[in-house]
């Protein structure tokens, strides 16, 4: 099995790896029993709803780590609002990584779901706090 150079580059130099201690939204998806789990932290500007910071922590294979790194880069580089961020799909992640082996597609799905889960968490907290 071969990973693209882009996957290896992100695996070896992951972007936005770490935690945001006072995150506005946290998404936790996957299951270590199945081999991958992703935690995504976001910091959102309450007025503009732009995602100002995003970080990840991932337990998983090379593709899972590279997908996490890529999805955070897609958001952070573009200064996306949460609505725009919700339009990001696993296909975008795969394209940006110059492809993933077929058995690794689920890793990109996890990245999409991790991001969505963090945004949902943000929305829930926002509603709760008025």
């Amino acid at each position: 099995m071969n990973y693209s150079e882009k996957v290896m580059e992100h695996f070896n130099n992951p972007r936005n790896m770490g935690e945001i201690p006072d995150a506005d939204g946290v998404g936790l998806v996957g299951n270590p029993v199945c081999g991958d789990m992703m935690k995504i932290f976001i910091k959102v500007n309450k007025d503009t709803e732009v995602i100002e910071d995003i970080k990840f922590k991932t337990f998983g294979c090379g593709a899972a780590i590279a997908s996490s790194s890529m999805v955070t880069e897609l958001i952070k580089d573009k200064g996306m609002t949460i609505d725009d961020a919700l339009k990001i799909t696993n296909k975008n992640v795969i394209e940006e990584l110059d492809g993933l082996p077929p058995v690794k597609k689920h890793c990109s799905v996890l990245a999409e779901e991790g991001l969505q889960s963090a945004i949902e968490d943000y929305k829930k907290k926002k509603q709760k706090n008025g």
């Binding site: 099995m1 990973y3 290896m8 695996f11 070896n12 992951p14 790896m17 936790l28 299951n31 270590p32 029993v33 199945c34 081999g35 991958d36 789990m37 992703m38 935690k39 922590k57 991932t58 337990f59 998983g60 294979c61 090379g62 593709a63 899972a64 780590i65 058995v103 690794k104 689920h106």
Partner: protein, 403 residues
């Protein structure tokens, strides 16, 4: 990149120079078909039969009890299906274990669909089969016991002499998949009451695509492959002559190595690596039997991280090992062997197998020990899990290992 370090010998080995030198002659100069009566055929037949003697010698068998195959998987298939189909009138029950190689497990699953009943014996936390459970599951319908000699993932050595004795007492055929032990551990098919044994060439510095099945004389099997009268009607098809010659030479060298106690030194290197890893890195668990384990295998779980990512990082440093992790196999299930041994499923995802060979050195182990702690730390920093955020207990769907 500096010199690469190969620690994946249980997957495959390189070919020794002496083996290569023998083989190359049979690719070019001696090209005859060993079944031919002319001199081109006869000169090849002679060497094929010498190779048969060399393979037989490793396990104290007679040359005519050795049948060459296209590798270990074919030997396993031939043994199990061959005995099953030849003994249908006697019974339909086969006993194997939960930790066999897929070459055995998937063959047994196939036979289940054909109406055979299979018992998959459990193992203890070290990966040793339960002898009492074996005794208890034998019925008057049992026709075959197939238990591996050494497990390919964790290296645990099974009590095959005891199993052979039980099989003989009950008049049941005993097959052992000896692919990891052939040429590395002493085997005597007579003392151990083994009726069928699978061996492979490319695990002992011979070529790939070459293996053998030992079948005790008088034991009848249904052949898997039909055709000409090759291999005494048990395996049709013109012989893979260079493969057989290479296997023969590799067997001869392996026997000498065993006599010279070569595996003692490899075992000391393995223990040195194990000691270094467990001392330098926290939350590490060694799998397999502490003593009854083949000296070449070290199987380790690194908690909180996943195996493939460790393999990739090691590969980046020129170090080759393998992982039994779900992601590599693509089926999202971690090793069936560790599962049977009761290793926590999340922990099992972080497994790495180092398997050593004849040319590994202490310097290479030192190199691994100098880079590994940093790699593990780096991956653990990336992981959401730690002692503060533990793996969830039995979270989500259970893995669905069949046995």
């Amino acid at each position: 990149m500096s010199k690469r370090i190969y620690l994946d010998h249980s997957s495959t080995t390189y070919i020794l120079d002496e083996v290569y030198d023998e083989m190359i002659k049979y690719l070019k100069t001696f090209f005859g078909n060993p079944s031919s009566f002319h001199s081109f055929g006869r000169e090849v037949r002679k060497t094929v039969e010498e190779s048969r003697e060399r393979v037989a010698d490793v396990i104290s068998a007679e040359p005519r009890e050795i049948y060459f195959t296209g590798g270990g998987t074919e030997a396993d298939n031939t043994a199990i299906k061959g005995i099953a189909y030849a003994n249908q009138s006697k019974g339909n029950h086969i006993i194997t274990s939960k930790i066999e190689h897929h070459a055995v497990l998937h063959t047994c699953e196939y036979l289940e669909k054909k109406g055979f009943r299979i018992t998959y014996l459990p193992v203890d936390k070290y990966g040793t089969i339960d002898i009492d459970a074996l005794r208890d599951t034998i019925t008057d319908k049992t026709i075959l016991i197939s238990i591996m000699h050494v497990n390919n993932e964790v290296g645990t050595i099974q009590p095959i002499e005891e199993i052979g004795k039980i099989a003989r007492e009950h008049n049941i055929y005993f097959h052992t998949d000896a692919i990891q032990s052939f040429g590395k551990l002493p085997i005597d098919v007579n003392k151990m009451n083994i009726d069928l044994l699978s061996a492979s060439s490319h695990k002992i510095y011979g070529p790939k695509g070459s293996g053998a099945l030992y079948i005790r004389k008088g034991v009848r099997i249904e052949p898997l492959i039909h055709g000409g009268h090759h291999e005494m009607n048990k395996r049709a098809g013109t012989e893979n002559v260079p493969g057989i010659i290479g296997f023969g030479k590799a067997s001869e060298i392996a026997k000498k190595d065993m006599e010279n106690n070569a595996y003692k030194g490899i075992g000391e290197l393995r223990d040195y690596l194990q000691k270094g890893i467990t001392e330098k890195i926290a939350d590490v668990f060694v799998n397999g039997h502490p003593e009854k384990r083949i000296p070449v295998i070290l199987n380790v779980c690194f908690k909180y991280i996943e195996g493939e990512s460790i393999i990739l990082k090691l590969d980046g440093k020129g170090i080759a090992a393998s992982s039994g992790s779900a992601c590599t196999s693509g089926d999202l299930e971690p090793s069936h062997v560790l599962f049977a041994m009761g290793v926590d499923t999340a922990l099992a995802q972080g497994t790495v197998r180092f398997s050593l060979g004849k040319k590994n050195t202490k310097e290479e182990m030192d190199e691994v020990l100098s880079v590994l702690p940093g790699l593990i730390e780096n991956l653990r920093e990336m992981s959401p899990f730690s002692a503060e955020f533990e793996f969830p207990r039995e979270a989500g769907p259970r893995v669905k290992h069949k046995h």
